[in-house]
């Protein structure tokens, strides 16, 4: 994500239309929220106007003036073209007067239809443009989120109420029919190097706890452990975690340090 200084650097190029589409789009979004950049853009346009004015000197040929005058007169003539001479109209037979009128009505109706269609297309176009711009913004935003999530260099932090130790938390996902287990632990207490945490499956009924895998935590107390039970289809009423010697145990060493919630 660019910061203000980087956007400010691009303003001159933007004012000249010399930025590529992607950079222009990003800058436009920034301009919507940055009054300082908007003011600088106006000032840069003032500088560019001076630069443009430095090219003045040669005068256009006289025919250009005449050409513009004729073009404007032609537009005026077309605008007022429907206003004919009344005297001439009076001399025409009635049908001759009505025929052009009928054609005019038809044309007007057709034109109105076309105008409405053009307006509809314009509206649709504008709507599509707005939607496209929003889609592009959403896609760019999603892409940035994805980059952040997959960036190994990104810092990850959890904030909690000040002066409150973050609560330890273990999530266990268990697929009984396949015996698959996925453990996700957060903020567990550190343990000696010669110890490991071990997960235990607490079977339904009164059977003894069944040993699962052992795991260590990182410096923040986090861990992730995929595991598979030796037997499939074991009904579990819960899981528990104990601290065991490295290599794990067959029976849990008390106390249970993490037990099912509730």
């Amino acid at each position: 994500m660019k910061d203000h200084a980087q956007f400010a650097e691009d303003l001159a190029l933007y004012a000249m239309g010399s930025l590529d589409d992607q950079a222009s789009h990003e800058l436009q979004t920034h301009l919507g929220t940055c009054a300082e950049c908007r003011r600088e853009l106006e000032a840069l346009r003032g500088d560019l106007a001076l630069l443009a004015l430095s090219a003045t000197g040669p005068q256009p040929p006289q025919r250009s003036r005449q050409r513009l005058k004729e073009a404007i007169s032609e537009e005026q003539r077309q605008m007022s073209g429907s206003e004919g001479a009344p005297a001439l109209r009076r001399l025409r037979p009635r049908w001759l007067t009505l025929a052009p009128a009928a054609v005019a009505v038809l044309l007007a109706v057709t034109s109105l239809g076309l105008l409405l269609e053009v307006q509809r297309l314009k509206d649709s176009n504008t709507k599509l443009f707005v939607e496209l711009r929003k889609t592009k913004q959403d896609a760019a935003y999603a892409k940035e989120i994805l980059v952040m999530l997959t960036d190994p260099g990104a810092q990850r932090m959890t904030l909690v109420a000040a002066k409150t130790a973050p609560p330890a938390h273990i999530n266990v996902i268990y697929q009984k029919d396949k015996g698959h287990i996925l453990l996700l632990a957060s903020n567990l207490a550190p343990i000696p190097d010669n110890k490991v945490y071990q997960l235990w499956l607490l079977p339904a009924g009164s059977a003894a706890p069944m040993p699962c895998g052992t795991f260590r935590i990182d410096g923040q107390g986090n861990s992730m452990m995929p595991d598979t039970m030796k037997a499939e289809g074991v009904e579990a009423k819960g899981f528990a975690v104990t601290v065991e010697p490295v290599g794990g145990s067959n029976t849990p060493t008390m106390p249970i340090v993490y037990a099912p919630a509730g």
């Binding site: 001076l50 513009l68 404007i72």
Partner: protein, 184 residues
């Protein structure tokens, strides 16, 4: 008031207001505006295009747009001379780059610390800018001219000059700031 020749913002605004009626009076106002500013529009277009016929076409187009939509120009936001200069440059670049022309005249807010309405002030400013350009380091002037008068993107300039993109950006920015500083 009689006989005051140099254009003032009020004069321009009054002429623009007269255009809206689209009557004979409006055509006279248009002729006045053309006489005042056609040299600016044509000069800029010619500088960009290097072709008198193409420059005349841009001149015609810019003034016809002013005639058709005078309400686009807001005397409060920018003066007519710099506005027309920027519009002429943009239209000419569209021709160079074979881009379709926008149907509407651009709404471009322009702020300048220089009063460009007075003809004498404008001439003085133009001379100063030419002096700044002449004294710029050649690489800065080239980068600025490639972007502004040739309509090249900074990527194209970097490719053509073999310089990094950041260097191209910095040169253009420095050159423009030198223009601003000389006129502030």
């Amino acid at each position: 008031m009689a006989g005051r020749q140099p254009a003032t913002p009020q004069d321009d605004a009054a002429l623009i207001a007269r255009l809206r009626d689209k009557d004979e009076n409006a055509q006279n106002a248009m002729a006045d505006l053309y006489d005042r500013y056609s040299g600016i529009v044509y000069g800029v277009a010619l500088r960009v295009l290097g072709d008198t016929t193409a420059a005349e076409d841009v001149l015609q187009e810019v003034f016809l747009q002013l005639w058709r939509k005078p309400e686009i120009f807001d005397a409060e936001r920018g003066r007519l001379a710099p506005w027309l200069a920027v519009i002429a440059r943009n239209r000419a670049i569209d021709v160079v780059r074979k881009r379709p022309h926008e149907e509407d005249v651009d709404e471009i807010p322009i702020a300048s610390g220089v009063d460009l309405e007075e003809i004498s002030a404008r001439r003085l400013a133009v001379e100063k800018v030419r002096g700044v350009l002449a004294n710029l380091p050649p690489e800065q002037r080239t980068a600025l001219e490639m972007a502004f008068f040739a309509g090249m993107t900074h990527t194209e300039i970097a490719r053509k000059t073999g310089e990094p993109l950041g260097t191209v950006k910095t040169r253009i920015r420095s050159a423009l700031l030198a223009v601003r500083k000389a006129l502030s």
